[in-house]
């Protein structure tokens, strides 16, 4: 399956991943597979109420149950400071982070932890939970963003006041903060517009839906050192969170990342690690906790439900002259929804002279939201891309044509101010216009074709890589980026390309916090970009050392007698005289002198000892990611059920290092977006209890709900990366909800203003 691009030997091929055999044979060790001598099993007692004051907790009966070794409540945790802590990728308030892991005085959502048990078996731990007596004062919940914003809404955090445009106010409210971005003169822009469209949209809470539940195994040793094994997107981020919550120096916490069964942003925040740690300290034995699927839905971080208003104005010639949006996002029980990113993304595919975007971060009695693939952007794009589609229709323009007219290019300004570097948005629009899918007539009744675009920033952040040269000329690559989708391969490939050796000669290993320099999470579409960058730099470091050693050896080998120092200096061989191509080092001053990478490796011991290349990266030029999607649907007019007939996702990936895994990221993101569009939603009753917390009733797409997902990888190299890489992982989830909505409109003549567009909702629109 290998087909290298002309310029490269390794990049662009499709080799088998180094961890492949372990993962298809069941040998790979995921967090849930951890087993330590004397290990206990932990379970967490969770609030049955969405909003309640915790008056008392009595654990006596649970402690008395045979087999129970430890029972803990918030009293067993240090009192967390009310301050922001920088956790690498993100900054969080330590007190709120800690209170989410174990409720302090109030339970703020159904599933909020209030106590935990460690016992000799999971069944006994579970029985013990039933023996813990908790006295609650049940309070009325605030469950929907618009209700929670009302003056009369029950307050989740009595002490919380609204931060208005960055300024702390004295106003007590569930609105944690109000953001605003303005560009140009929106009012004037709308006056200049020939046509203005204004719509409101609603999206439901959705979950990342990774198949592997959260898990954590902790051993708090007698010497005070804490060891954690867990499935996480970032070991260092777990280390810092655990240290902050437990009041330990990071040096006292070692985190080993196990193989991870999916994250999508949901395995960055800690939930179980500090609980397992405190249980371990109390029991004096290692403790493993694994969440049930119900706990996953009720008590981990989904992505926000939202209410979004969008107003856009255009001239008859199709140019969009003004845009306004107001985004209200549910943060969950604690502040910190991705509304800021939503605001900064909502109009980013377009060059619009006049814009205003307001964002509201609102707390509600639901689990604290977490990141989910391009956090905040999909909600926003559903709203804006639907309005753009309507503008095109009203102007008599093809929906791709209005994007061609207004699409963002290098130098255009985002609503938050900065201008775009070289981006490939227009390339995706042109590729869509020229794609056979778009030219193919859509025959048959009740069918429609929709398109939508999306933007995501991507991030760089910090990565570290070490490369050790083996005596046989192969190398061992050590990295801190957990591999969730084949990044061992995509990073090893970049090292192999730079080192000029075969991919098979690079053996990558993912290690924990004691084994490598700080590395941020595998998330933000950054791993192949930033850790790959570090792998490239570490490879150059290896080559630099080899050139130095060769120069020294070759220079020393010169037997010739020199006529004085001047001539000696003339002849001196320096590292600059050593070239390296196709695995062979040559001497510019003496064609007779050559040595291969493998020969140097074999003789390292006589050439200055072991060779270890190292590099850290914190790349700036992340390059933005853009995608344009085309979808065909059929709507059953009797039932409102939507069938996806065909899907084509076009994306600027900069450079596809391993095309199969780049395609896989796109296909996975698209299907998560299709699930979001059609059926996925958290359904709550009036008490704030989620009533569909299972994979049966939280309906993620199955094989039978989908066609093949066609991908087009447009390559507009990112000048900020040695191989032109742009992050690919997140932006594919941005367009699908809007694309499906626009396709349903074409099929039915009904505009969708709610996600999910479940059969019940679509039917109600059809019966209007």
């Amino acid at each position: 399956m290998a087909e290298a691009t002309a310029a490269y030997k390794v990049i662009g091929t499709r080799p088998i991943r180094p961890d492949g055999a372990d993962k298809v044979t069941g040998r790979a060790v995921y967090g849930g597979d951890m087993r330590l001598t004397g290990m206990l099993h932990g379970k967490v007692l969770r609030s049955p109420h969405a909003h309640a004051r915790i008056k008392s907790i009595n654990t006596a009966k649970a402690e008395a149950l045979p087999g129970v070794k430890a029972v803990i409540t918030v009293k067993d945790f240090p009192i967390a400071e009310d301050r922001m802590a920088n956790l690498g990728e993100m900054a969080v308030n330590v007190k709120l982070l800690s209170n989410n892991v174990m409720a302090a005085d109030k339970a703020l959502y159904k599933g909020h932890p209030v106590a935990a048990v460690a016992a000799t078996s999971a069944h006994i731990a579970e029985e013990a939970l039933g023996l813990i007596e908790v006295e609650y004062e049940v309070l009325p919940p605030a469950l929907h963003v618009l209700d929670a914003m009302k003056e009369t809404a029950p307050l989740l955090h009595e002490s919380m006041t609204t931060t208005e445009l960055g300024q702390k106010t004295e106003k007590h409210s569930n609105i944690a903060s109000h953001l605003r971005f303005v560009l140009g003169d929106p009012a004037q822009g709308f006056r200049d517009a020939d046509i203005v469209i204004e719509r409101e949209f609603e999206t439901a809470t959705v979950h990342q839906g990774y198949i592997e539940p959260h898990n954590a195994t902790a051993l708090w040793n007698e010497d005070g050192h804490l060891y954690i094994w867990t499935s996480t997107q970032g070991a260092f981020v777990v280390q810092r969170q655990a240290a902050e919550i437990l009041g330990l120096p990071v040096s006292q916490v070692s985190v080993t990342p196990c193989e991870i069964g999916g994250g999508f942003g949901g395995k960055i925040s800690v939930y179980l690690e500090p609980v397992a740690a405190v249980l371990s300290r109390k029991a004096g034995r290692p403790v493993k906790i694994i969440m049930s699927r119900i706990e996953e839905f009720e008590a981990t971080g989904p992505t926000p439900a939202s209410h979004i208003k969008v107003k856009m104005g255009a001239k008859k010639d199709g140019s969009i002259v003004a845009a306004e949006a107001s985004l209200m996002y549910e943060a969950g029980a604690f502040p910190g929804s991705p509304v800021g990113a939503g605001c900064m993304c909502i109009f980013s595919p377009y060059a619009i002279p006049n814009m205003q975007v307001d964002g509201y971060d609102v707390v509600v009695n639901k689990p604290k939201t977490a990141a989910y693939r391009a956090p905040g952007a999909t909600n926003a794009a559903f709203a804006s891309e639907t309005v753009v589609d309507e503008l095109a229709e009203k102007l008599g323009l093809d929906p791709l044509e209005i994007r061609r007219i207004n699409g963002a290019k290098e130098g255009d300004r985002r609503v938050d101010g900065p201008t775009f570097p070289r981006i490939g948005y227009m390339e995706t629009v042109h590729a869509a216009l020229e794609h056979e899918h778009y030219a193919t007539p859509l025959n048959g009744p009740n069918r429609g074709r929709g398109v939508a675009s999306g933007f995501w920033f991507n991030v760089g952040f910090q990565s570290s890589v070490v490369i050790n040269v083996n005596a046989d000329g192969t190398v061992a690559l050590v990295e801190g980026s957990t591999d969730i989708g084949g990044t061992r391969a995509s990073i090893a490939m970049q090292a192999a390309e730079t080192l000029g050796i075969p991919y098979e000669d690079v053996r990558p290993t993912v290690v924990g916090t004691d084994g490598i320099g700080f590395t941020d999470v595998t998330g933000g579409s950054r791993t192949t970009f930033a850790t790959g960058y570090a792998a490239h730099e570490a490879s150059l470091d290896v080559l630099r050392q080899m050139k130095e050693r060769l120069a020294r050896r070759w220079d020393g080998e010169m037997e010739k007698e020199f006529e004085g120092q001047a001539e000696r200096e003339m002849a001196r061989i320096t590292p600059d005289d050593v070239t390296y191509t196709n695995g062979v080092f040559k001497c510019a001053k003496d064609a007779g002198k050559t040595m291969t990478f493998k020969e140097i490796a074999a003789q390292m011991a006589r050439m200055g000892g072991p060779i270890t290349g190292r590099a850290t990266s914190q790349p700036r030029g992340v390059g933005g990611a853009f995608a344009t999607h085309i979808v065909d649907v059929e709507v059953d007019p009797d039932t409102g059920k939507v069938t996806i007939l065909r899907y084509t996702a076009i994306q600027d990936v900069g450079r596809a290092i391993h095309p199969s895994y780049a395609e896989g990221q796109v296909q996975g993101g698209v299907v998560q977006g299709i699930g979001w569009a059609l059926n996925e939603e958290f359904v709550y009753n009036d008490n704030g209890n989620m009533v569909n917390s299972s994979f049966l009733d939280y309906r993620m797409p199955t094989t039978l709900d989908l066609p093949m997902i066609d991908t087009v990888l447009v390559e507009v190299p990112n000048p900020g990366h040695p191989y032109g890489v742009r992050g690919v992982g997140e932006v594919p989830i941005v367009p699908p909800v809007a694309a499906v909505a626009n396709a349903i409109y074409k099929a039915t003549g009904k505009r969708m203003t709610q996600a999910p567009m479940s059969p019940g909702y679509v039917l109600s629109k059809l019966l209007e």
Binding site: M1, R14, I16, R17, D19, G20, A21, K23, V24, T25, G26, R27, A28, V29, Y30, G32, D33, R35, H123, Q208, G209, Y210, I211, E212, P213, E259, I260, G261, G262, G263, F264, I290, S292, R293, I484, G485, G486, H658, S660, Y661, E663, G664, Q665, Q667, G668, V670, V671, Q672, S694, F695, L696, M700, P701, T702, T703, L704, L706, M708, I709
Partner: protein, 158 residues
């Protein structure tokens, strides 16, 4: 609660174990027998990550009591590859990049194995229908379906 003595065959070997009636086959495989290749995704029969073959029939091991396996034959992912050679399904999953995180992969491979025994030349629709009980959140299924179809072709030739 006294434990029950269960005699069974797992991946061709006679295996005895003691378990409580309430323990699922999944629990015993993973926690007592150390066969952690079979994964837990939801523990109520909705994701297929724990798929195994019970007397040749595809089941979710989270919905089988371990005591029920007395006198039965259990096949798990650990028994699929032959020494130094992956099963064609395993090989094709790798070649087609049909796994990303890999947590659902053992379940998908066991389910696909059961399909190809019953129907060696499935259509794309038949593959999608048969695998609808296995959830994958990473791949969008495209490459999984292609891998299974390709494996079927290879196994037919062999």
């Amino acid at each position: 609660m006294p434990k029950v003595h269960v005699q069974t065959r797992i991946n061709g070997e006679d295996i005895d174990f003691l378990c409580e009636s309430r323990q699922s086959l999944l629990e015993v495989l993973r926690d007592d027998l150390g066969l952690t290749g079979t994964k837990e995704g939801c523990s109520n029969g909705n994701c297929g990550a724990c798929s195994v073959l019970l007397d040749g029939v595809l089941v979710d091991s989270c919905l089988v009591l371990a005591v029920e396996t007395a006198g039965k034959e259990v096949a798990t992912i650990e028994g699929l590859a032959s020494p130094s050679k992956l099963h064609p399904l395993q090989q094709k999953f790798l070649e087609h990049a049909a796994l990303q995180c890999g947590i659902c992969t053992p379940g998908f491979i066991m389910a696909a194995k059961a399909l190809l025994v019953k129907n060696p030349t499935p259509t794309e629709h038949e593959v999608r229908y048969w695998l609808a009980g296995n959830l994958c959140r990473c791949t969008g299924y495209d490459k999984i379906v292609r891998a299974v179809l390709d494996a079927a072709t290879v196994m037919e030739k062999a």
